[in-house]
């Protein structure tokens, strides 16, 4: 026989079980409420980011160098298009054409070794973009300044120029690759003796007019200018002796000037020049024999007149205001086309 107390106790125990089960069920139900986390907002950049990260730059240089070596080995200008552009493409295409004709291309001062020692990575948004690498010295024992440019986000970086450092020259110090370097606009002359575009224009004038240029004193003497001056003088003398003439002009290629700020407050400037020289023999005179390299580009061995177009890639150290003359750091130059008659 069941007592009322037993019934009451059983009821309380049932209530307790129900409470425990209820708590357990409620807690288990909570498990189904685990929601996905919200998407975190990315941090606002503290500064303009570098155009490429250092590791990315290394990969790009390797890819571009491999493509350049493959094109050089094959002597095929079509292989240059993917990773080479601008003056470098023109110079290498001309060299391939000379080689194909059995002649030995003239030295241009281009890099013979493309393994990078360090990079200068500009802090810049938008396109076109560029960055620079300094290479190991190769067999020529000269480090080179490799310029890579990308026209748009969809275009790869292509090697645009590889001028080798002139003897005895050292590059101005710039910030570490990871820190990036500030871009100096071609027309910006803040704290500089001259804006990058002006520096290139003035040096072109100096190369064209020699010591007669009004800007000659603004540039320190350099082996490249000496070489150009001596070459022009020798050709002029030879042609004058036979009654011929030589005219020549250096002009800055539009849109070619790039610059980054150096640690001393100056700028490292790179520009491409076009050097056009026309040699004309005496009126009614006999045709002369062209240099084998020029003959290969002209498609003929003899001519009475010839117009040679060379391309030059030059790097300058522009000092801060009152910092002295502009120094030429690196140069690359060679013929790209010859028109002979």
């Amino acid at each position: 026989m069941t007592r009322p107390d037993d019934l009451a106790g059983a009821g309380r125990r049932r209530t307790g079980w129900r409470a425990g089960a209820g708590l357990a069920a409620g807690a288990v139900l909570l498990a189904g409420c685990a929601a996905v986390p919200p998407v975190p907002a990315p941090a606002t950049p503290s500064a303009t980011p570098v155009v490429v990260e250092p590791a990315q730059a290394a990969r790009i240089v390797t890819a571009a160098s491999d493509a350049l070596r493959a094109a050089d080995t094959a002597g095929d200008p079509a292989l240059l298009a993917q990773r080479v552009t601008g003056p470098e493409k023109d110079l290498r295409t001309a060299a391939f054409a000379v080689r194909a004709k059995g002649a030995q291309p003239a030295g241009t001062g281009a890099a013979d070794e493309l393994d990078p020692l360090t990079s200068m990575l500009p802090r810049q948004e938008g396109w076109p973009r560029f960055f620079l690498t300094v290479t190991d010295p190769g067999a020529d024992e000269k480090p080179s300044l490799v310029v890579l440019r990308s026209d748009s986000a969809r275009e790869p970086y292509r090697i645009w120029g590889t001028p080798s450092l002139l003897p005895g020259v050292s590059l101005p110090a710039v910030d570490a690759p990871s820190a990036g370097v500030e871009v100096v606009a071609p027309d910006e002359d803040t704290n500089l003796v001259a804006a990058p575009q002006a520096v290139a224009d003035r040096y072109a004038d100096v190369l064209t007019k020699g010591g007669a240029s009004g800007f000659a004193a603004q540039f320190a003497d350099d082996p490249y200018r000496s070489e150009v001056t001596a070459s022009v003088a020798a050709q002029t003398a030879a042609l004058s002796a036979s009654g011929g003439t030589l005219t020549q002009q250096h002009t800055v290629q539009p849109g070619s000037v790039i610059a980054v700020r150096t640690r001393d407050g100056g700028a490292l400037v790179v520009a491409a020049l076009r050097w056009e020289s026309t040699s004309t023999g005496p009126a009614g005179g006999r045709s002369g024999t062209l240099d084998p390299v020029l003959a290969a580009l002209a498609g003929r061995e003899r001519a009475t007149s010839a117009t040679v177009v060379r391309e030059e890639v030059l790097a300058f150290a522009v000092p801060p205001t009152d910092g002295g003359p502009v120094r030429v750091l690196a140069a690359e130059s060679g013929p790209v086309s010859v028109t002979a008659a």
Partner: protein, 210 residues
């Protein structure tokens, strides 16, 4: 009355402990968050929103699948660079994840537009992978921290044809997502209540003994 309270504590504690143990074991949240987007017409690219790759966990495992004939490309790049690469190209943007951990899905935004170009020719990629039919890429969260402005992922084929039809991202869950937040407190509270209930029962039992 004290005995009733003791019984209540005992049973409630047992319930909480069992519930907490269940939440830590068989009812524990999934170890990873696996979200897949299958779009019949994704445009020329499927791109993630900034921050999505860092949703949770130490890394995001990306996978894009198309037809076996398609060369599938997966890349991760700075968000601004990918926006410049996309330009006016048609795309599906994975803007976030909604739903529960067990059945999540992407929230998306579709933008009609033109074709792009082969993404493999661009140099904007911080990491990339390519393969016939499928491409996979792991992106560590720490790598995002090194890149200013945030990174996004992009899946495409040749930049002109349709993007891979299926894109999935798997994150290893961490913290509150990997372990239900109430599980440990439930076990602890349950153990405490069990102990109190048992002590209460013992004490009330002794007092009731003649």
């Amino acid at each position: 009355m004290k005995r009733v309270l003791a019984w209540f504590l005992l049973l409630a504690g047992l319930g909480c402990a069992v519930a907490g143990t269940l939440l830590l074991t068989v009812l524990a949240p999934p170890r990873q968050l696996d979200v897949t987007e299958s779009a019949p017409e994704p445009g020329t690219a499927v791109v993630t929103a900034p921050g999505l790759l860092e949703l949770t966990g130490p890394q995001a495992a990306l996978r894009a699948s198309g037809t076996p004939q398609q060369q599938v490309f997966l890349g991760v790049a700075r968000a601004a660079d990918v926006a410049a690469w996309l330009g006016d190209a048609s795309r599906t943007e994975l803007t976030g994840v909604r739903g529960e951990l067990e059945s999540p899905s992407f929230t998306t935004r579709e933008t009609p537009g033109a074709a792009a170009v082969d993404p493999r020719t661009a140099d904007i990629w911080l990491a990339s992978a390519s393969g016939a039919g499928t491409a996979e890429l792991d992106w560590p969260r720490t790598a995002s921290a090194d890149v200013e402005g945030g990174v996004v992922a992009l899946a495409a084929t040749d930049g002109t044809a349709a993007a891979p039809g299926t894109v999935s991202i798997t994150w290893q869950l961490q913290g509150e997502q990997a372990e239900h937040p109430s599980a440990v407190p439930l076990v602890a509270a349950g153990a405490g209540a069990l102990l109190l209930g048992a002590v209460g029962l013992l004490l009330t039992g002794r007092k009731g003994t003649p």
